[in-house]
């Protein structure tokens, strides 16, 4: 039966595919390479044109509907780890993905997390569906952690908080909210930024463009460029800011610069949209790392904040985070929360419970919370030590007089080395040091023991490759 071929020509236009023309970007997507197809007459960039020529449905059952589908490109970040695993060289070093490693370069499960999980196991809690907005206890503690429990925005119940699938999921929900309620509004993202930001806004059909951020000449912040680009954006744009420990550069504005940024955003009636993936991880202090967000909230601005517990609690694979929308009234917050739920339901119905319980147990228990703070200081401390050792090795070995102090000035898990693509390739091909092509290295993957080797690799790539 399976081999019977029935020939029935396709009778309806809706089942045949014709060759299409490329749509030259009706939506302004800045430098995006993705062009969305809103019209059925326009192009589908995901299919090879010639494969769209399959017209007849004669081979009814054994021919796939998805014949023309091409291989998606490897993810630029997650693909690095795959390449690293395949390398057999003894000196290989994985400075790709931002996952914390101990000095022995092993993954690290925080003690406080083990304790929380054992408590949960003992209690034998059930696995019922969470409400769409997530675990109530988690939502409470996550907002308090971010804004401070005494913050007026919390006391006045002006924050709509919805548990989401880590940072990515929080950003995606926010993007969907923007698309639905601010059609045509643009999001401005830093140049450079985390690679997945543009994918998120593209898939959510939210137009985006970039603001200047990284200055290759100083390997620091292009502050004038940033302010100028934010000023030039159409009023009511969403400005995506990294709360602390900018990814990929590690370059954060100073407190004074944050004040000026807040002023400009307020002046232009823009909406600040924070991505906070490293609270506690940057400086070692949860409160200090939330300073930028709290500054904006204190200005009385409405803002969005995406949070993640992947790094600071090592809960990467549990996918735990939250989207927070600070509104000017508790009524608006309630309405916004209801709409966030409506967007989440057709995405995944309700979020996963395990990670939420871990966070709620830790943050909600004073002893565990203090233990967490101590472990976080250790993790952030190890990164600072590694930065220092790398700086010392580079300065000692490099005779060119190049200023390597940016390594100490940058903060968080990543460092933007200033290496270009060819130089980054040299790092990998000659030295077996795996990093992303934009010159970003993850210091979380570096041990004190390997700093000298890395210094050699960096110096060689800088001076001998162009």
């Amino acid at each position: 039966m399976a081999s019977t071929m029935l020939s029935l020509a396709s009778s309806s236009p809706s089942s045949s595919l014709s060759l299409r023309e490329i749509n030259k970007g009706k939506l302004n997507l800045g430098s995006a390479s993705f062009i969305p197809c809103l019209d059925k007459d326009k192009c589908n960039p995901f299919l090879k044109n010639k494969s769209l020529g399959r017209i007849s449905m004669t081979v009814a059952v054994n021919v796939s509907r998805f014949e023309g589908i091409t291989m998606a490109p490897p993810d630029p970040i997650l693909g690095v780890s795959e390449a690293f695993r395949a390398d057999t060289h003894e000196m290989k070093l994985n400075l790709g993905v931002g996952a914390y490693r101990t000095e022995e370069l092993q993954p690290y499960v925080l003690n406080v997390v083990r304790k929380a999980e054992n408590l949960m196991l003992e209690r034998g809690e059930n696995k019922e569906y969470l409400p769409i907005e997530g675990l109530v206890a988690f939502n409470k503690v996550t907002a308090e952690l971010l804004f401070g429990a005494d913050n007026p925005v919390i006391k006045q119940q002006r924050v709509a908080t919805v548990q989401s699938l880590s940072g990515t999921g929080s950003l995606r929900l926010a993007a969907a909210l923007i698309e639905r309620y601010f059609p045509g509004a643009k999001v401005l993202i830093s140049s450079p930024t985390w690679g997945n930001h543009k994918n998120i806004f593209n898939d959510a059909r939210v137009p985006w463009s970039e603001y200047r951020y990284y200055d290759p000449k100083t390997v620091g912040l292009d502050f004038e460029g940033m302010i100028s680009d934010i000023k030039a954006a159409p009023e009511g744009s969403f400005i995506l800011l990294h709360g602390c420990a900018h990814n990929p550069t590690g370059i954060d504005p100073t407190p004074d610069q944050w004040k000026k940024i807040a002023d400009v955003i307020q002046e232009k009636s823009h909406i600040p949209f924070f991505d906070v993936a490293y609270q506690g991880f940057a400086s070692g202090s949860l409160d200090e790392d939330a300073a930028s967000v709290r500054l904006f909230a204190a200005h009385g601005m409405e803002l969005l904040v995406a949070q993640s517990y992947s790094k600071n609690l090592g809960l990467y694979a549990e996918r735990i985070g939250a989207i927070n929308v600070v509104c000017s009234s508790s009524d608006a917050a309630a309405r916004v929360k209801s709409q966030l739920k409506r967007l989440a339901r057709p995405m995944y119905s309700n979020p996963p419970v395990h990670g939420a319980r871990v966070v709620a147990n830790i943050v909600g228990d004073p002893a565990l919370f203090n233990e967490w703070k101590a472990e976080m200081e250790l993790m952030a401390g190890r990164i600072k030590n590694v930065r220092q050792k790398l700086f010392d090795s580079l300065t000692a070995k490099d005779k060119s007089g190049k200023d390597w102090s940016f390594i100490l000035k940058q903060i968080g898990m990543f460092s933007f080395t200033g290496l270009n693509k060819a130089q980054s390739d040299n790092m990998t091909n000659k030295w077996h040091v795996y990093m992303t092509k934009d010159g970003r290295i993850s210091l979380a993957g570096l041990s004190l023991a390997k700093c000298e080797y890395l210094a050699d690799a960096v110096i060689d790539s800088f001076h001998n490759v162009s």
């Binding site: 029935l6 029935l8 999980e117 196991l121 999921g169 000017s328 339901r345 057709p346």
Partner: protein, 428 residues
Amino acid sequence: MAIVRNVLAGRIMASRPSSMLIAARSMSSWWQSVEPAAKDPILGVTEAYLADPSPSKVNVGVGAYRDDNGKPVVLECVREAERRIAGNLNMEYLPMGGSLKMVEETLKLAYGENSHFIKDKRVAAIQSLSGTGACRIFADFQKRFRPDSQIYIPVPTWANHHNIWRDAQVPQKTFHYYHPATRGLDFAALMDDIKNAPNGSFFLLHACAHNPTGVDPSEQQWREISQLFKVKGHFAFFDMAYQGFASGDPERDAKSIRIFLEDGHLIGIAQSYAKNMGLYGQRAGCLSVLCEDEKQAVAVKSQLQQLARPMYSNPPVHGALIVSTILGDPDLKKLWLKEVKVMADRIIGMRTALRENLEKLGSPMSWEHITNQIGMFCYSGMTPEQVDRLTNEYHIYMTRNGRISMAGVTTGNVEYLANAIHEVTKSS
């Protein structure tokens, strides 16, 4: 009880006048145009139930299994799996496609333990956020690669199906399914709709234990549907949320899928462990698409991952570990199969009890459909007004389409429930 009804109808959270904005704010809100969303018709029921102080309240709303004491159940095999994995493994990101082991075991359940499709690596599959996530990624995939296509959805269906394909921006059409007069399958109209749809249309089918009606095609009917699909060149997407839960036997519950596979269809499947492993809140599931060959499967999988990355990057690990621990250990797997059968049998027992009670009360209507239907739900045939009476007068919570979650029926409440149903339907 008018409050309860209003809550369910989403009227409580109406917009308030802007004079309630905090005076100190000099800036008005960006979110003024945001209306309160209507309460989810299914999950909103449980919220209302929880808010009710009545001691005789009964929740037969959401489809989450309860034991005979009305308590949620964590399966023994799950507890054991959790003991084994606690604190052992690190929490590094799963690959975008999820846990390979979990996916492998999950495919065996749907396609067959020794399926040659799996051996030939023709199945493109990713771990998904339970059934919802699997349907959503498929809908997005359909939108991206078949932008001209529509989805045919049965009437009725799980309410969230409509939300999913709508938010994925895939146009929807419906096909006949439930026959109110017989409270069974409207097979003739179903086949008509399949025939009249343009060749190569995409259809959403419930593999077993149709939600909300509990009405499934017979094996013979499935064979006829499959044949007609071949003639028309249609694509079948199966939502299988209750494998094992319907008959108690996972192999039997996968029959519809196996028929389509034997007949040579290249199908898609959404699988969920929410009910059959009781992993509701863990969001563990799988999306698979059967392809022509390994090369195509690799390409399709890469594109499915590409859709997942900007939604959640990679799926949660905990539920996946539980699944692969259980299914990867022969003893635990045997225990699981036993526990699934216990759940299914309890439900079948409650169906019989409810029907017998109604017949004993002398109800003039026929209640055969309660035992004819299968799975967690019973489509009672009650009207929204009758349901409102059940809620307002008897504190019985269910969705207004008359769907009863049999999982919420116990030996302790079945008489009360039968009595209430009889009271509100006897004059109809």
